[in-house]
Subunit: 221 residues, 2 copies
């Protein structure tokens, strides 16, 4: 198809498509004439993946390229590809807290991972995020949530197992690698939205039954 049709079918403006081509995010089309390139379904597919990364996962364009490179890698194992995706979607965060709090959080995470028997690269970005989050919870006197790590992990493991099974069922390696990229990123958005809705629902029910969780009922005359 011509670039105009690619734009129409993907909903991505032609100038944006040309930008992706220049940046090497999108492979060049096949030259049907010296100044005329034609694009295949694969281009449409890649374009949708790029939009999902940028629009839904808020992955910076600069990072999208490294994700796609891992994603296209013929030498990298799926495991290493997943690692690259994880690094791309895990924003590096630094939370301000005193050393003792951070040390306690680090120890808790180490113990936790060991306790669950998880095989994890100690340098995995998610480990740093976990330490930062628990550090913040402790600094904010919310250690009781950090102590619920097991409950969080059990629920998340169920999700991960379902996702991996659904992904493994996708057939050949390339399909799987693509599913991993999409599933890791869109699955997270899915979970985040569903959790907010579950909270809203529980909150609405609690409000009806005017429990202490609803000061509104006492606030308003």
């Amino acid at each position: 198809m011509r670039i105009a049709e690619l734009s129409r079918r993907s909903g991505v403006p032609v100038p944006t498509i040309k930008y992706y081509l220049r940046e090497g995010l999108l492979p060049a089309g096949e030259l049907s004439s010296p100044n005329q390139a034609s694009y295949a379904e694969a281009h449409l597919h890649r374009l949708r993946l790029i939009r999902a990364l940028i629009e839904l996962a808020s992955v910076p364009v600069a990072r999208v390229k490294s994700v796609l490179e891992a994603f296209d890698s013929k030498t990298m194992s799926t495991h290493d590809r997943i690692g690259t995706v994880h690094r791309a979607v895990t924003p590096s965060r630094q939370v301000t807290a005193d050393d003792d709090t951070r040390a306690a959080a680090t120890a808790q995470v180490r113990e936790f991972v060991k306790g669950r028997g998880w095989i994890i690269d100690p340098d995995a970005p998610a480990i740093a995020t976990l330490v930062d989050t628990i550090t913040a919870l402790r600094a904010l006197d919310r250690a009781h949530l950090a102590e619920q790590l097991g409950t969080y992990a059990e629920a998340v493991e169920r999700i991960a197992e379902m996702e991996v099974a659904a992904t493994a069922a996708r057939g050949e390696p390339d399909q799987i690698a693509e599913s991993v990229v999409i599933g890791t990123i869109l699955g997270e958005t899915l979970i985040s939205a569903l959790r907010l809705l579950a909270h809203e629902n529980l909150s609405a029910r609690l409000m009806r039954s005017t429990t202490p969780l609803d000061p509104g009922s006492t606030d308003s005359p």
Copy 2:
């Protein structure tokens, strides 16, 4: 305490604290002399909350103010406060897809919420995020993940119930409102990190047992 001590104990630089004071994110200290303000534990607490919002939830400073206003509101019910927090932490996303795909996703979400008997404001930002995510999954031929909405929801409901119970146990309304803000935001970071770790662990185990999920074992000679 003086601003210097507030800075030392919170780990936030004095100029940043002054910026928060100017922006009205942090209430003014009590004037102990015409040019000398003293700050209480409440200021330290609020400062930590601001840092958690900015550093961990990546909430823009402009939005932090609206979260804190809801958070301090004496007239707003906890339910409405939660809504404000949700709007602050839910980035507005627009994914490019054709109308049919979006219509199908919208219908699926409506059916799903109805099916679970969730009490949800149809204009809740998380509903829009859910529709966008499912639209993207369908556009990327990953409808099979969207069909797992129930599995995601069950796991997420368990988490939400634990979180609400832990929050309700926090005592008086103000404590609860603060827990809701912190729990909503830090809990999400916690879940996100744990999910990536669960995936890494499953991937590592699958790689060892060289299932089809690991092309690496065949890629490398």
